[in-house]
Amino acid sequence: MDAFIHQVLSGLATGGIYASLALALVMIYQATHLVNFAQGEMAMFATYIAWSLINAAGMPYWAAFLLTVAFAFVFGVVVERVIIRPVEGASVLSVVVVFIALLVILNSVTGWIYTYTIKTFPSPFPKEFGIGVYMSPHEVGTILVTLIVLFLLYAFFRYTPLGLAMRAAAQNPDSARLVGIRVGWMLALGWGLAAAIGAVAGMMVAPIVYLDPNMMGGVLLYAFAAALVGGIDNPWGAVFGGFLVGVLENILGAYLIGHELKLAVALVLIVGVLTVKPSGFFGKVLVTRV
């Protein structure tokens, strides 16, 4: 029974990571109707920057953490303005190819600069955080960080004028322009925020899966699945989906199918959910006007 509780709680911890990344995906989706396939690699790249700051520059963890988040934010803004904006009007598939290109470039460049040898990434949470056999200190810390990030985001969007403007720009860009909102920059900011969230997710997951250029592949996949299960246009759904997928992954892996087929089975299950509820649990069922 203890083991089961541990799997569930541990699943919630990784679920928090999936939830954060899923939220980043949904944010960009709501504003652009596109899924940023390169979100994982951007997070991975940011995590490597953090590693450099901690190991090569000897910075204390939290200073490196904050600097990395800031870097990721700027990086996200720049990517949107420089690489994505020129292809904004192109077909969906063309933009997907640009995302794939971004993914591949980041992965390759990181491997080139840092090599593909696996590195360890520190966890900043002291032993006292742990809860006996149920949760390791890092797992508790991860859930805390996830909740803080989610809360900050909620507060930002709900209570600040800029957050309101971003929501407006995502929902109705034409009307947003009519009240003077610079929609293009709102989009760039959205990318920046998404990248920053991704960086946090990367730094939380790296101590668990070890730092290597391919570490975010599986995570991104779960996040993608989580976002869809929650309803791709619903931020709360993304969070719910993330936690659900985290727990499912652990339970399935530990009790049902072992670790090799974990990914495949989780995906198949998710597809099963989608056959029953094609727009996810909380997504809007789009009624198209003919």
Binding site: A90, S91, S94, A101, V104, W112, A264, V265, L267, L274
Partner: protein, 319 residues
Amino acid sequence: MSRRQLVVVAVLLLAACALPFLVSPYRTFQLTLVIIYAIALLGLNILTGFNGQFSLGHGAFYAMGAYCTAILMDQAGFPYWATLPVSGGVCLLFGFLFGLPALRLEGLYLALATFALGVSLPQLLKYKAIEKWTGGVQGIVIAKPEAPFGLPLKPDQWLYFFCLAVAIILFLVAWNLLRGRVGRALIAIRDQHIAAEAMGVNNAIYKSLTFGISAMYTGIAGSLSAIAIQFVAPDSFNIFVSIVFLVGIVIGGIASISGAIYGAIFIQFVPNIADEISKAAPWAIFGVFLIAFVYVMPYGIAGGIRIALAWWGRKRQNT
């Protein structure tokens, strides 16, 4: 096809037939792969380009075809050419069966479902329980076919012509299909599926059948690849195959038959070029190429050629 287009195609075919005698065996092998990829891309293009159904998992059908051929040759002693109809049929069936529930999913959701397919299949292929057929992680090795009837062709050359012949047949079938009612129905479904349904196009049947046919094409390509490479293993069919196929049709040109060929050339040779430019980060260079192509030719190479020809035609009219 206009007279001029027929001439162009005939000339290109002649050139294609001459190539294996003019280049090295390795180059011939690379060209054979281009033909195989072209068939695979045509399959994907029928589904995604012409019918608008997103697939991020076509590598799974490629793998299915390859393994079909390998297993039939290795365990049942089939001659290589006889495996093609079987693997085609199997993939057609699986594609159709997958297409049925996939009908309910649109866009992103379908992308995820096909992605799940693409990711799962290699893992399934490694599964211990079916190892005695699939050969597990080691895979299956098969023999290289020799030229029949004692023709004076080296094995690489024979393989090239065999694939070329299969490709010509498949391309002709597709061209006929897509040019007529079926093609129009597919495009109608892609662009305005509600209106299409209202006009009497049976969306469900067309969409599932399209999935089946698309899978069949890519599956046959997979079979040919098994014969060409003489080896199948689960790790050769990971998700990157599906992703590269998608990249191929976008670069080549969506909803274009010739696009399949341009795309195949791109995905076979550009990684090699990228590798030569930078040994350290070849995929980064590949990514840069991708972005450049999308910026310069958002409609793919086929689209770019069409635009260039139209521009040239207008220039000639004005002089």
